[in-house]
Symmetry: C2
Subunit: 286 residues, 2 copies
Amino acid sequence: MFQNVVIVGPGLIGGSLGLAMKENGLAERIVGVGHRTSSLDRARAMGAIDEGTLDLVAAVGEADLVVLAASVQLICEHASTAVGRMKDGAILTDVGSVKQAICDGVRDALDARSEGTVRFVGAHPLAGSEQRGIQAARGDLYQDALCVLTPTGETDGDARTRVRQLWEAVGCRVVEYAPEVHDRMLAQISHLPHVVAACLVNTASDDAIELAAGGFMDTTRVASGDAALWRDICLLNRKALAESLRDFGEVFHRFAQAVENGDAKAVEDELARAKTRRDDRMPSKG
Amino acid sequence: MFQNVVIVGPGLIGGSLGLAMKENGLAERIVGVGHRTSSLDRARAMGAIDEGTLDLVAAVGEADLVVLAASVQLICEHASTAVGRMKDGAILTDVGSVKQAICDGVRDALDARSEGTVRFVGAHPLAGSEQRGIQAARGDLYQDALCVLTPTGETDGDARTRVRQLWEAVGCRVVEYAPEVHDRMLAQISHLPHVVAACLVNTASDDAIELAAGGFMDTTRVASGDAALWRDICLLNRKALAESLRDFGEVFHRFAQAVENGDAKAVEDELARAKTRRDDRMPSKG
């Protein structure tokens, strides 16, 4: 499917993609670009990449496909560098959980490119966990996962098809949304819940946390994610997140008023609506 | 440990206690009081009770120990009935997740009792899940769980010791708090998170919920709990919950402002504080 592939940041997400591509014979050669030799050695030993390098600029020059798989702030930086150094017609994609900021950055970098073009297709596989790093990578991470592509009016049709085929070949169900639609939805189901989980932990007293049983552990699990990484996600998706925060604030205020007023019907209505919507939409996921 | 035990509501919580008491030889005879013969038959077949009856009034008269294990609203109702019918000196306890309302109800019922007394000790084992009913009961449910006792100045010392020994004998670590302290802590780690989980589901669009990955599933899992049951918990613990809702509202507002203002330091501080507090307090629980 691809000859020379570069994966920038072969950690959990990028390394798992490398493993899956090798296992499925989708790449002739994969070069991993990282910032620590030890991680690159490990990625190579695991079979996620064929070769490792610390030199992003040199690595992307010969690639047919570059996958940006570092954290989201770094993806923005790597995108600008890669766009300026990749060969004409090569495909650039990424795995970032915020899409508008990355698409905007790529567009700016493309405008600044003096000749030829790079074909960019934004992507976001919804897989992974609080775990990070190449040691957590596995070839079946994308099996039955969802991958969102975020093509725009400027996206090359052939590149879009090939990136879709790549994610399908590693096991994903692929859907497509405009970058801003992706960002709004991810704010609702990922970035807002992360903020809320952090706020729940920060509201509870130390004594109360000591008592915490399973429900609290589940509800706040995402709050154990890396703080700097999530700071970047919050800020890079600031507009859509702010909108979700306002929406949540209204729903929450209405619920709090119902409790304050002892309004049994209103309290039950909110709870029943949430239960029905959650159970209906996610029957098989528990 | 006890001769004649009555468990009112032998479902997941009460049935598991019955199983654990039988397995550990803590009760000579356990009578289950329910409102459906089929459930009582099942509880008996599983060995959680020796006998089942629909008649609460008749059942509690001979008991040395009555455990109220129905849903929290019913516990309040059963408490009044039981206090009036139990024999002098018998011990009454419960498993309700709201304590002040139950303790107040028992005090009123004790005041109304014409002669003799019943020795009440409030309890709340922090175990169980979204599952309900006798079919989910198991003898090891309380192994390594926490059980909160909520004695007051009026609680009989011997009864307090015996109820503590009971929960320890089925595997619990027992801690003691005043009812209002219990309610405040449970509001923070259980009732507020439930409200927030429901609000997260009700904030997300249908399309976004379709995309939902693991993080959202975990954060909102409790929102699939029974709506009527949680309505009662919210209202019976209305005072403490309203306080937690206000506290959360302030923490949330501060975070939302930081996002709105693009204040990277403030956003990271909130996230880092939550991560540190969660990781520090719950190292082994993931």
